[in-house]
Amino acid sequence: MLNTIKQVFHSPKFVVGFAIFVAILLTMIIYPLFCPGNPLEQIGVGTFAAPGTYVSLYDATKSPTETLRLPDAADNRIEASLSKEDRVEMVEWFGAMGISVEGLDIEDTDAMVDLWNANYDPSVRPAGMTSAKINYYKRLDNSIKELNASDTVIIADYDEEGNLVTTKTIADTDYVNTKEIANVKTLPLGTDNFGRDVLKELVSATGTSIKIGLIAGIVATVIGLTLGLLAGYLGGITDDIIMFVTNIFTVIPSFVLLILITYSLGQEQRGAAVVAIVIGFTSWTWTARSVRSQVISLRNRDHVNLSKLSGHSLVRIVLLDILPYIASYVVMAFILQVSSGILAEAQLSLLGLGPKTTQVPTLGLMMNWAMLYSAHTNGSWWAYFPVILVITLISFSLNLMNTGLDQVFNPTLRD
């Protein structure tokens, strides 16, 4: 046994696959220890906050400041409210209004802004200009006004009589160390459509999906193995009947069957475990067929016949004289079943037929919600791409492990 395991770990493919899988498992276990909390908690109000570090503006205004005179601060500020494209658009507006721009340097912010302020009138609609453009110029005008604003921001509060009283002024050279701010939240993968922390949800969903894969894999392997062993060993009419049933299940595309069963179950019944069992129940056929063929080649071996002559029971012969010889194959089949179980859950959930939504996050459900909220069309990649990546990594690592095992155990592939 120990020798077999050593042998397995000499296969580089298996080791790489195993390492990836273990890394995913470890993240699943360790991450919640550092970042505890309910993965389904809606921390964000609104949809799809971009990944990044969020600083509480409320706390920042109350934190102690340092004065920093940074040479490029003013330029950065101008660039933020008046980009190069904006300047080109300004010139276009001057043109549309018939204002001479001769000698105007596009880089000369003051001249540009002066000319703009002297001429811009929000009520004028140049002929043929679209509403979208007119709205754009309104926004541009607002940001130019901000440029012109004084270099301090005033924080005011109501006094007892209800008048605004200045409590603090913030200069444009005031900086706050992020360590001093009471509330800073880093969302490495942003939030999803419900305002949930995607990373936290992803870690939890990976766990659920692997569990679903494992349950589906166990169910499929147990059914397939039992039927395959019986059909292969007993042969005759039993074999015929079992293969008849197996063939029926084979010719009906299993995914269609899966869709029909989950649909008819109804949403109330669809917990993660139920979905896993249904997936397992529809994917056992190829395990049964290949186990059967392996068993047929084994059942006339001398040691099996010897066992039969010794009067051993059917169960004993199957478990002790046949199963050990195909165990490596069964393990490989199991790994593939787990991998396809995870994929099947993702596919089902994407169709809206996955587990019930409020209770657990799964990888498929995350993708389903991202798609329902058009994350793919509005550029919110963080809501679905990491999920795809995790699914890919899990099934890649499992398949790699399977190939590695194959190389060790399959005599025709041995070096």
């Binding site: 109000v45 949809t47 509403s131 305002g195 109330e268 409020t358 069309t377 509005n378 550029g379």
Partner: protein
């Protein structure tokens, strides 16, 4: 050797990827209906084959493309039929879609006024509001050149009652008969036992929502179906006569196209004085919202009647020439409020107004509005909760300050808990969930599967339940199952479920108030009309019945204020957000001068509904 081969293979793959990317780009360029590359007015247009089999190209600069209306092949052009899915010609949104079949008046949801279409601006009631008269415009003509007369109006009403189409359901209880005398239409209201009209407001609805069909064509249709009502209702109406500015040009399962009728009577000075600008109105049938949105972004769609989350990103981030009616949030004209209804067939709900109010108080509406509506709705702090939609006209119909004490803006967990505690609904067995009559209260929050914004709302309602110790789980059945269950007056399967009340018609807010608390709808089988929660309150019902007959404005205001008080105290349902009844997002790549909040008084009604069709006469080509 092997390595070299692998390297080569990698290069080949890389090149093929790059090549794919390129061809993809040029593909969208060609299909993008780009006017700039237009030689002879045809390139960039769309090729269609109308009925005669000859291929015709739709010039992009004469075609206005829609999205978000038609989701399947058109099955009928029969304006008196009921087997309808013809969203471009026979449908209503904010008023009636005036493209092919016209109403007597056009509804303008912006100012709440009726504008003459087939009829002159002269409708008038008699003193006790039992008779309404108006006259048909002299210029009004059918497509076959004959004049539109009062007889057509009468025949449209009569055939509706006879064969039981929408006319019977909507107006049968309110209109007794219609008399025709040349161009003069006289509508007699149905009277109640006291000799008063049942509901004059519903007669105004008839003026703006009922499309007129030609009496002669109705006769033809009745004759060929041997007077069989079912056959008439299902008649495809391919030979129909219309009065509107557009007619059918081409329809299959890919697209539906209307073409302008250049003989349209509305060119007369008594109506528009000109023809609408686009020659074709085309609607490609998209697989889903996402496909329609992609087409809008690509400039293949001009007017998009679809909810687009974070619509402002289309111009703020993507810099596309796309705009909405208002250039700031809520971006659209909110006319209705999707509402969660409490099912009064469930004893724990029916017996406890405190429980209903507590759940409604605990729900985080800001989160729903930010999430399900991506802030395209005013908040309940901006527009306090009532029976009215957020338009100024309806808001003026009740006294805000009198009901201010009853308001709640949501996410008030402590307040909700205190209310439940004081009502004796407490957790006595220590399992974390409250009980009523010794039994754990366990409710579900239900909406159709795939309606993502509603589903998100129901998730937030469920979360509110969790916060106050009332178990609420979400349930998303398929839409057809949902529709069967929630319209059943005796159902106990759904405890809290979503549906939208009426949006904007002349009879609103009355119709909506009746939907919220009227007892007319209680116990009706297959109830699509209102009061889906089966709420019974005789006092409220009496007040509702008074309103249509009350002409004194101060009295109407008092009645609506009383009703709002009852509604906010009893909480038979609670609105979750405000929402436009039609979305209006336009791409100005080809066309511009769409309705906007610019004083032209044209409502954002998809350029086709009610007075919104005025937009088609104002459109301009870009550049």
């Amino acid at each position: 050797m092997k390595k070299l081969f692998a390297l080569l293979l990698a290069f080949v793959m890389m090149f093929s990827l790059v090549a794919c990317g390129d061809s993809g780009n040029s593909g969208t360029g060609e299909g993008g209906n780009d006017v700039a590359g237009n030689d002879g007015g045809n390139a960039g247009g769309e090729v269609v084959a109308p009925a005669d089999g000859e291929e015709v190209v739709l010039p992009r600069n004469e075609t206005l493309y829609f999205a978000g209306q038609q989701w399947g092949a058109v099955n009928s052009w029969n304006p008196i039929g009921t087997n309808q899915n013809n969203s471009m010609a026979i449908a209503g949104g904010v008023g009636w879609r005036e493209t092919m079949f016209e109403t007597l008046y056009m509804w303008n949801a912006l100012d709440g006024k009726l504008y003459g279409l087939l009829a002159n601006d002269d409708y008038a009631w008699n003193d006790d509001m039992t008779v309404l008269t108006c006259t048909i415009k002299d210029a009004a003509k059918w497509s076959d050149g004959t004049a539109v007369t009062a007889a057509d109006v009468k025949r449209t009403f009569d055939i509706g009652i006879e064969i039981g189409n929408g006319v019977a359901g909507s107006y049968g209880a309110y209109i007794d008969s219609i008399e025709a005398d040349g161009n003069k239409v006289t509508i007699n209201a149905k009277l109640n036992d006291a000799g008063q009209p049942v509901n004059p407001l519903k007669i105004l609805d008839f003026l703006v929502l009922q499309p007129m069909a030609q009496a002669a064509w109705i006769d033809t249709c009745v004759e060929r179906n041997n007077g069989d009502a079912t056959a008439i209702l299902n008649d495809p109406g391919d030979d129909v006569v219309w009065s509107g500015p557009y007619t059918k040009y081409f329809a299959d399962d890919q697209k539906v196209i209307l073409v302008r009728d250049d003989n349209y009577w509305g060119q007369d000075a008594s109506l528009w004085g000109k023809l609408p600008v686009p020659k074709y109105l085309a609607h490609n049938i998209y697989a889903d919202n996402a496909a329609g949105e992609v087409a809008l972004k690509a400039g293949e769609v001009d007017v998009c009647q679809q909810f687009i989350g974070n619509v402002q990103n289309l111009w703020l981030e993507d810099g596309l020439p796309i705009s909405t009616f208002y250039d700031e949030a809520p971006y659209g004209l909110c006319l209705t409020m999707p509402t969660a209804w409490f099912n009064m067939n469930i004893p724990a709900i029916a017996d406890n107004a405190a429980l209903r109010r507590a759940i409604a108080m605990a729900v985080d509406y800001d989160s729903i509005i930010a999430n399900a509506m991506t802030n395209q709705s005013p908040s309940f702090a901006d527009v306090p909760r009532s029976l009215m939609n957020p338009t100024a006209g309806e808001q003026a119909l009740y006294n805000q300050s009198e009901v201010a004490d009853l308001q709640f803006t949501g996410n008030d967990i402590e307040g909700a808990k205190a209310l439940l505690d004081s009502a004796g609904i407490v957790d006595s067995d220590g399992d974390g969930w409250r009980e009523y009559n010794g039994e754990k209260i366990s409710l579900n929050a239900v909406c159709p599967n795939g309606w993502s914004d509603w589903q998100a709302s129901m998730e937030i309602v469920a979360a509110a339940g969790q916060n106050i110790g009332v178990e609420i789980t979400t349930l998303y059945p398929e839409a057809d199952i949902y529709n069967t269950v929630f319209t059943d007056p005796n159902q106990t399967e759904y405890a809290i479920f979503m549906w939208s009340p009426d949006a904007s018609t002349p009879s609103n807010p009355w119709t909506r108030v009746n939907q919220f608390m009227g007892m007319d709808y209680v116990g009706i089988q297959n109830n699509w009309s209102g009061n889906w929660g089966q709420y019974k309150n005789a006092d409220a019902d009496a007040l509702i019945k008074q309103i249509p007959l009350t002409t004194d404005e101060a009295e109407v205001r008092r009645l609506y204020t009383e009703l709002t008080k009852i509604y906010l105290t009893e909480v038979p349902s609670f609105s979750l957000m405000y929402r436009p009844s039609m979305f209006h997002t336009v791409n100005e790549t080809v066309w511009t001068n769409f309705p906007a909040d610019d004083g032209r008084n044209i409502p954002p009604a998809d350029c086709t509904d009610g007075y919104g069709i005025a937009a088609l006469y104002d459109l301009q080509l870009v550049g």
